[in-house]
Amino acid sequence: MFESGNDVAPNPASEKPQFPEGLRVLAVDDNVVCLKVIAALLIKCRFVATVTTKATEALEMLRKNKESYDIVITDVEMPDMNGFKLLEIVGLEMDMPVIMMSASDDTKTVMKGIKHGARDYLTKPVRLADVKTIWKHVIKKNVHDPLKLGNIEEKKDEHPEHSKAKKQRGTKGKEEETNAQCDAATYRNKKPRLIWSKELHYKFVDVFQQIGREQGIDKAVPKKILERMNDPRLTRENVASHLQKFRNTLKREGVKLAKMNEDNEKNNAVLSKAIVHLPNPTTVSTGIPSFGTQSQTFGAFRANNRRPLYYNPANQHNILLQQNVIPRPVADQKCSNMHIPAPIFSQNSCSETELDWMRFHSNIPRTNMVNNHSTDSTSHFPGFSTGPTTMPNVSYSCPPSGAFNLAGVPLHGSTQLNHIPQPESQVQSSTYGQYEGTNLVNFNGRGETNGHFLQHPFENPESESSGVYNNYNYPDDDLSYIIRQFSSNPPPRL
């Protein structure tokens, strides 16, 4: 009788845990009640939970042995260390997914957490349903980091011949290998697809241009590139297909490879008639979504790249405009003109500042109350809101829209221009060799900003920042997307 309907879990020791069981979670909360509940939740999900009430202690544990945790869950408000600080250290330095939680569902706090790189933000009470799926953040992270995924796979893999097979696959690049092993772990058995991360692509472009300068573009064959890149992840096939796509994209966008050759003076005389000198250096940054570093990189770029931009009024269809995926809050005032549809939270129009708090009895919905006084808490996060609206530049789930051409763009003509004349001195002065070929203005901006930008060459010749746009990389492995960015924007040196 007692056995019936018994739902007791099988002994975990007796069988090999299947993912996500055994996920190693570090939970940090100074609130013992919450911590106890979270620990119970994690155990219920059969994760391996390590809990601590002190953020500093958690940090120490992580510094000592970061490999023994997969993900961190942390409270926001803690006496010894702010959760955001912890998030910054753990999320950025250690590159570990962090989930934040807090009792307050205050929009600004949530936004701050997400903007600081939290993978998720849970409001207390944390429920089983929330905790059950936290493993997705570990996977999500590793999907974008093939090396890491490989590591985790190998670590979790207990069949030696299996991992050997994987290594073979890794080197030979065979797509399909029969996986007779446990079907529950099929996701692990798949060969991790090579993802051309930003860094990898930078490297690729570097090598490509290096070879192009030394031996000519035609000599940049996959084998040579592979040798020079010297990356264990890569195979010749990877490079070959990437190269092909890269060349195609370059061609499509009208960036002439020959520009990288410096002996293009002979064309100058002919072409300079058709070329209008942009009054201002137009710079386009390639944004890396990291905090704080962006502006420095960007500044360096601008300083070094005060090179006039040439364009051909005859050809008007070559600007690629891409939508921002994760717009960076920019310091540039120009950009504050953007009317990005802030999807959420800008409507704290409640004029009632003096709260009749006695109205709050147990049945008032929580959100209502928060909305009512959220205007008061603006000052709590000084670095957070940049404008009158709560979040002028943020949209979270904006899908990467394809590039589109905008008519009436009087910029660089691609088809006629084989060689873009570069004033010799300016070429020399640029420390960024790659910039020489970047005449195509390709920036990521919201659609709304484009008109604004395009006026500049003619109507606002004095404007310094006409071309400065927040430009964000979307962590997408869509190759052409990356290439499109780099065809005009050489990889920044970080």
Partner: protein, 166 residues
């Protein structure tokens, strides 16, 4: 047989008490979630958590009172932190009414509205006492039920009957 009946009676009492608390808005479904987490590996989980909760919130409440009683009081920020703590733990055990009052309290504290804060604190203390009494009653009945029937939880029947039963 008789023991079983007694246990059933006690279980009904528990459920009645719970539904009263739910109806009053004192507790919410998070408390049920807490009960779900209790199993063989942690048979007293709910009781333990609630106990810690009462200890912690008692401290927090006396801290809050200490802050507000002080005539020169101005540290609303510190008060906000205490309130956040209280709110976090209250919501974690499903003490809905307390967390709602905490919200109102925090609103008052954000506006540096001291009289409102004092009223909120009084309400909190009342709620705290009420919840404390009711949950103690609840756990007492549960304890009796364990002694009487050996079935600790309606959801999770136990694999082995506890020794008390014999």
């Amino acid at each position: 047989m008789l023991l079983g009946l007694g246990a059933n009676q006690l279980l009904a009492d528990m459920n009645r008490l719970l539904s009263l608390l739910f109806h009053q808005g004192v507790l919410d479904e998070q408390f049920l979630e807490l009960q779900q987490l209790q199993d063989d590996s942690s048979p007293n989980f709910v009781y333990d958590v609630v106990n810690i909760y009462f200890n912690e919130s008692e401290k927090l409440l006396s801290n809050l009172r200490g802050l507000l009683v002080d005539k020169e009081f101005s540290d609303y920020k510190k008060m906000g932190k205490h309130l956040n703590q209280l709110m976090g733990s209250s919501s974690s055990i499903g003490a809905k009414r307390i967390s709602n009052i905490c919200l109102a309290f925090r609103a008052a504290s954000d506006q540096n509205n001291r009289p409102a804060c004092l009223r909120a604190l009084e309400m909190l203390e009342n709620e705290y006492c009420y919840l404390n009494n009711k949950l103690h009653e609840f756990f007492q009945i549960e304890q009796q039920r364990v002694l009487a029937g050996g079935v600790r939880y309606p959801i999770q029947q136990q694999q082995q009957q506890p020794p008390q039963q014999q």
